[in-house]
């Protein structure tokens, strides 16, 4: 205890910033490692992708909010624009067996190709390990990880939490905005928002 005091005094410079936060993902901090096998049986390790911006997207194909963004083509457009900027895109399904959105690898790949999605990898996270490491709460819940492997954005895909696809127009797409900022070396203006959507079916 005295030691803690000694340190805080030694750094007499104002102490009040660094407060512990409950969630395991913190903006500006290293993203938790992901080691998994994707739906095409390839090994995926997040830290191998350092040097590139990586987007993590929690998804559940039966969730109306996921449908909002896929059926409208908004998610595909966001993915395509991201891919053109050299961004890697990882879709993660954390639905437990028997729960909504739980799929096997074959179904998962079919969902990707049917939707015309552009993803680097799709990962099935049946036991929710990855989801809980990121404290993923909703589908969609989006994370943007910068080239250094730090979390640059966490939260909703856009600024309108309505399930109504008509609200996509006029909403701010936070993921695209974060990618654009990172690519041009600007600070990410909105780095954390409240995710909206269906609860992840752990």
């Amino acid at each position: 205890m005295t030691r803690i005091l000694a340190y805080s005094l030694a750094a007499i410079v104002l102490v009040f910033a660094a407060m512990p936060v409950n969630a395991s993902v913190e903006i500006g901090q290293p993203a938790p490692e992901i080691e998994a096998t994707d739906t095409n049986d390839n090994a995926f390790k997040l830290s191998d992708h350092k040097g590139k911006i990586v987007v993590l997207e929690w998804t559940n194909n039966e969730c109306p909010f996921v449908k909002k963004h896929y059926d409208s083509g908004n998610m595909q457009a966001t993915q395509k624009a991201a891919a053109e900027k050299g961004v890697e895109w990882v879709s993660i399904v954390s639905s437990a067996p028997g729960k909504q959105g739980h799929v096997d690898a074959e179904e998962a790949n079919k969902i990707v190709s049917d939707a015309g999605a552009t993803v680097t990898a799709k990962i099935l996270d049946e036991d929710g390990t990855i989801g809980k490491a990121y404290d993923a709460k909703t589908t969609p819940h989006m994370f943007v990880i910068d080239a250094e492997g730090n979390v640059a954005y966490a939260g909703a895909i856009d600024s309108n939490s309505s399930p109504n696809p008509a609200t996509i127009e006029g909403a701010t797409n936070y993921v695209s905005a974060a990618i654009d900022a990172l690519v041009t070396g600007q600070p990410v203006e909105t780095s954390q928002t409240q995710p909206y959507g269906c609860g992840v079916k752990y």
Partner: protein, 705 residues
């Protein structure tokens, strides 16, 4: 095929207006049935009336509150109204917690009614007026389904005078959370949100603590699924819940709903707005400072007097008396310059006191459980102060002279008329005074830290002014200088004599250090002192040869560094806590919250003593009033459970206990009378004075037993 599908959905999405049509067929079996009910249907210009949107939700499904929690989304109601009509915010009824796996949502099951107030413009056309609401909501069980619909109400229709829902709406309003205008502040500590509400006593007394639930309106404020911990402390309700993912810097005000059951089972719900503020988690006395026992004015006077008394402390007195004597020398020729010196000295004292106070306030705001005297709980600081006193002692005795301007304690001032010398003496006086303030200034400083920062700082300023006052007065009133003895050769002797109280003060710090560390630590500190003396001795020699001189300087520097490097050895944690030897002749229990709690649950009286090795008042009290036969007999006779808290080293539990009695330092003695054999009630705790005699202890025990 896919393209066709996409095109179709896009088309659908584009046609916002058509969504109600889509809702129409969904409504064949909607999970949420919605009715819109105006308070009354017959209105005239300028009326204000409530509109209810009633959701009847299918069994096991739920809709959401304004903060949906971990997932989901809150409903939206968009009104389409003729010009001039205005609709107010939604009044949200008390939500429920809806757990799902590791997630938790805030929402409603079965039925919920959202109220909004409609303002009718002053002029309205004759005849029926139709208002429409596009309602969009998400209803979830495990899976979620969005539902959309457009609903109409007609005002001033043919049967308008018959439609009156005011009783229904009144009943809904009665169940809304009541607005609580209680003082409410929040902050975080140790990864937890701390919310402090101060409701009126009668409400506080009625709360069944186990039933408390907290619903934040802001997202990311708390970790939603975590259980809140609630307790009452000194007239305030404290709620702690692990923090959410959003930094508190982004949330500078929060609203929320508090629900609980009263002790007789009535559900209650209050909405409140809390502001972020400095909050010592365990000192809910901030709001009710009367319990601290001192008011601002008397604390100010105490601090001023305390500051004056500090001048007599063995660590401060030598520095100042030398300073005062040299002042007399200059004021004979330059009275104006003397006044300037007095002022710069005062500035040095005040500024350094404020710097210390601000540091402490910031540390406390940052959640550190520390109080005044913290400077002596840290072996590093104790070590450095010890060295400092030792160096000053060596200087006084004439072992070496300061050649730099800094801290010209003695004759330097007359030769060097630089005012910064006096300013630095002020800083030095503050530094050497800090070890002495802890034992003697507990009351005023304790009060200071329970106050808002501005008041704390004012009290510290008073303390600083007190310390600076004698010298300041002396520099301003030449008549007083006449009383001072004439400067002369005796001054050198006097100065040397003053070295001994200084060494005494250094010894005292060494003793404090001995309580915090072990024999190695003390040896390391003594070795450091030898190195310092050696280094200073090297510096006394100034050979002509430049090379030799530089070598000597480097060697001296190394010796000083060595002394500093030894401090970590002093600072290692003590292998065995003190406490036992403080009280070896009495059967005492070491303080912990649990020990005290279990003692208080018994029927026996309880006496607590909060002490520290570096607290002289504590040691004296213990020796003369507690560890004496008369008190020991009383303790045995009345079966008193005697609990001792040792605050020599930092201990958050003890800090918390001190704060719960409005104190920020030791000593503190509290006597809890026994339980009444008939009523089984314990009399309220009595705080004993800070200066004890056996008679005082006796009267407290006998009057309350």
């Amino acid at each position: 095929m896919r393209i066709l599908f996409l095109a179709l959905t896009l088309l659908l999405a584009a046609l916002t207006g058509q969504l109600s049509a889509q809702a129409a067929d969904r409504q064949q079996s909607p999970l949420v049935k919605i009715r819109l009910l105006p308070e009354k249907a017959a209105v005239k210009g300028g009326d204000a009336l409530w509109i209810a949107a009633e959701q009847s939700i299918a069994e096991h499904w739920h809709t959401y509150w304004q903060n949906p929690g971990d997932s989901g989304t809150s409903p939206s109601i968009k009104w389409i109204m003729p010009a001039g009509f205005e609709i107010g915010e939604i009044n949200w009824p008390t939500p429920h917690k809806l757990p799902y796996g590791p997630l938790l949502n805030y929402g409603y099951e079965n039925q919920v009614v959202l109220l909004q107030q409609l303002q009718v413009p002053a002029e309205i056309p004759a005849g029926p007026i139709t208002l429409s609401a596009n309602i969009e909501l998400l209803v979830c069980k495990e899976e979620c389904i969005p539902e959309y619909g457009t609903y109409n109400i007609t005002l001033n229709g043919p049967n308008a005078s018959l439609e009156d829902n005011s009783a229904y709406i009144h009943a809904v309003q009665n169940k809304l959370p009541r607005i609580a205008e209680w003082p409410a502040i929040y902050n975080e500590n140790d990864g937890k949100l701390i919310l402090k509400l101060t409701p009126p006593q009668n409400i506080l007394d009625s709360i069944n603590l186990a039933s408390i639930e907290f619903f934040p309106e802001n997202w990311g404020l708390v970790h939603n699924p975590a259980k809140a911990e609630s307790f009452i402390q000194d007239g305030a309700l404290i709620i702690k819940q692990p923090r959410g993912e959003r930094p508190l810097t982004e949330i500078d005000q929060t609203s929320g709903v508090l629900t609980f059951e009263t002790n007789d089972g009535q559900p209650q719900s209050y909405s409140f707005t809390a502001t972020q503020g400095p909050l010592k988690t365990s000192s809910p006395r901030q709001a009710t400072s009367k319990t601290a026992g001192l008011n601002f004015f008397s604390a100010f006077i105490f601090a001023l007097l305390g500051g004056i008394i500090l001048n007599l402390m063995p660590c401060v007195f030598p520095v100042l008396s030398i300073k005062a004597l040299s002042l007399v020398k200059i004021s004979e020729k330059h009275p104006k310059l003397a006044r300037m010196h007095g002022l710069s000295y005062t500035a040095g004292v005040v500024l350094s006191f404020l710097a210390i106070a601000i540091t402490l306030i910031l540390l406390q705001a940052g959640g550190a459980q520390i109080g005044w005297g913290f400077q002596l709980q840290n072996p590093w600081i104790v070590g450095i102060l010890g060295y400092l006193l030792f160096i000053i002692g060596l200087n006084l005795i004439g072992f070496f002279e300061f050649s730099s301007r800094f801290a010209n304690i003695g004759s330097g001032l007359t030769q060097n008329q630089d005012l910064s010398g006096s300013f630095f003496t002020g800083i030095l006086a503050t530094l050497v005074a800090t070890p002495c303030t802890a034992p003697f200034m507990a009351g005023a400083i304790g009060y200071a830290f329970l106050q808002p920062p501005v008041i704390s700082l004012l009290i510290f300023t008073a303390l600083a002014l007190g310390l600076a006052l004698p010298y300041l007065i002396l520099s301003f009133i030449p008549a007083l200088q006449q009383i001072m003895p004439k400067p002369g050769a005796w001054m050198e002797v006097f100065k040397q004599a003053l070295a001994f109280p200084m060494f005494g003060a250094a010894l005292w710090l060494l003793w404090v250090l001995a309580q915090q560390t072990d024999a190695y630590g003390v040896t390391a500190a003594l070795l450091g002192a030898i190195l310092i003396a050696f280094g200073l001795w090297l510096l006394r020699h100034s050979p002509k040869n430049q090379k030799t001189r530089i070598t000597l300087r480097i060697a001296a520097g190394l010796a000083f560094l060595g002394a500093l490097a030894l401090l970590p050895v002093c600072a290692r944690p003590c292998s065995q806590p003190l406490g036992q030897d403080l009280t070896h002749s009495l059967i005492s229990l070491p303080y912990s919250e649990e020990t005290l709690q279990s003692a208080l649950e018994s029927d026996d009286p309880v006496l607590t003593e909060m002490t520290a090795a570096w607290c002289i008042t504590c040691k004296v009290n213990h020796a003369v009033a507690i560890n004496v036969d008369s008190t020991k007999n009383l303790i045995t006779k009345h079966n008193i459970r005697y609990i001792v808290g040792d605050w020599t080293n930092e201990d958050p539990e003890i800090t918390k206990y001190l704060e719960s009695y409005g104190r920020n330092g030791v000593p503190l003695y509290v006597y809890y009378g026994p339980r009444d054999p008939v009523t089984k009630q314990r009399a309220s705790a009595k705080i004993l004075p800070q200066v004890l005699t056996p008679a005082i202890v006796k009267s407290f025990i006998e009057d309350n037993t």
